[in-house]
Symmetry: C2
């Protein structure tokens, strides 16, 4: 049975509970919880947990801290991206965006505090390998900031000349890469293996970006629980305008298989492969996708 | 001769240069430099360097990383606090605020990227003591986020019921405390000594808050290089409304002497004491303050 979702949820609860000493400004405290709970698919922290588990997960508390940190950064980026000066979104995860439910100052500070909390959670994780934890903090920071993390990805939207690959890698793939790297680092993987796992995250992140563009163009707000049509309205470079529905589905499946194929040799490789495909197809709601099923059967049937 | 200012400046250049790989969005890259250079008094990173120096500074590169990290967090808070949804300020350090010179999205992302960079700089610092570096990252995070860091301090401004001491400690003193703690930690100080140095930062931070409130109420924008009168206009709890000019000056001097007196025993205690008083009085432009001079003479004359 797949426990990654429950474990990610528990790790996030622990991370936020550690902050609640009763002395903070109550409104910001409530906003931090609103930003993180209830969550979306939690795919990034689940990925961290799955990778660490595939490698034996010798330091589960460190893995939990990494999973929480990844999702805190993701949550921060959603809160800031929804702000009036960016997407000016009304709806997120089926309810009001944070700046609508609270106010704009609280939304800015919530994002800031969540970014801070991510490094805090990792820095305070009990580990027998402090140098490894430092590498994890640096890896997550690389995926979050400038020049190639998600803040940089969001900033590419303000640039006139944008290579869509660079933009999407920074905005989306970087955090999927970090999710895999952090899982591998927590398990004590060597640099070569960490780099190999990073590649899994890169393919998967690209698949998620295509799926996100597809959903933005073809789903309703009530289906997704967030505002739709923003990419097109804001004339952002996006894969859907180029690929259409069928092309997008095919691209997603191809990238998913590339991610699965990139999983490095390890005892649990086949289980990890199935987890990755099943979980991603579930999140994409593409479980019935005929192309992929056929290709999978020709490999494993 | 006091080299803390030059050293802080060099440490910040190194930190920002490490990020410039040419692959990032150029506008955000320019905004990051705009947010950090030219700086203000750099009092926080200079404090980190001074404390480490007073303790022998065995890992100068780690001290530099800590000094840079402290100032990056401070710079991030200035950029976000100047935003339209907070102070809506036009002027900072004698020129346009970042969101005026660039735009609001870039200002939000600049703050985010600077917060990320602070943990990045520390996590990548070469040190023989990784556990110590983790403690430094956690200490800086505590001073930056929720429940008692500067983000929490800023959030107190949205609350109806605010204890001014709690608000000022989070908004201003927390980063002065961290500046001292990081200097002591870099030098390998034991927890008791780190806590003692924290107290120096707390007194000093409180002195800076009173001086800031005084300047906001009594100086012109051209003198300060930033918008003035915001505390009063926004009805923020501030010390000036209660203390007036003479009372504020007396309070500043008393807190400065408390900070100086709190310096723990160490070989360079007297030099550190002079540095702290001279530097602070210079920054406050209170060098001629008669009360303090008289008190100092009665002690050292």
């Amino acid at each position: 049975m797949d426990m990654t979702g429950e474990r990610a949820e528990r790790a996030l609860w622990r991370a936020l509970s550690a902050q609640r000493d009763g002395a903070g400004p109550p409104r910001l405290g409530a906003a931090l919880r609103y930003a993180v709970f209830p969550g979306g698919a939690r795919i990034r922290p689940r990925l961290t947990i799955a990778v660490a588990t595939a490698l034996g997960d010798p330091e589960p508390r460190l893995t939990d801290a990494a999973a929480a940190a990844i999702e805190l950064i993701h949550s921060a980026s959603l809160v800031h991206d929804d702000l009036p000066c960016f997407d000016d979104a009304d709806l997120r995860r089926g309810r009001q965006t944070l700046h609508k439910a609270f106010d704009e100052p609280t939304a800015v500070l919530t994002g800031d505090a969540l970014i801070v909390m991510a490094s805090q959670v990792l820095a305070r994780a009990r580990s027998a390998h402090p140098a490894r934890v430092l590498e994890m903090i640096a890896t997550l920071a690389d995926a979050s900031g400038y020049p190639a993390g998600i803040a940089a990805g969001q900033a590419w939207e303000s640039e006139k000349n944008v290579a869509v690959g660079v933009y999407h890698r920074a905005k989306t793939a970087s955090l999927f890469e970090a999710a895999c790297e952090l899982g591998a680092l927590s398990a004590g993987a060597e640099p070569d293996a960490v780099a190999a796992w990073r590649l899994v995250g890169e393919h998967l992140g690209r698949a998620y970006q295509v799926a996100d563009d597809l959903a933005d163009a073809t789903s309703s707000a009530s289906e997704l629980g967030k505002d739709v049509g923003r990419d097109h309205a804001n004339r952002r470079p996006n894969t859907f305008d180029r690929l259409g529905v069928a092309g997008s589905v095919e691209r997603i499946e191809r990238l998913l298989l590339a991610a699965a194929d990139a999983i490095p040799a390890c005892a649990a490789r086949e289980a990890m492969r199935r987890w990755l495909l099943d979980t991603s197809l579930g999140v994409f709601k593409l479980r019935e996708a005929p192309t992929l099923e056929a290709e999978e059967q020709s490999r494993f049937g």
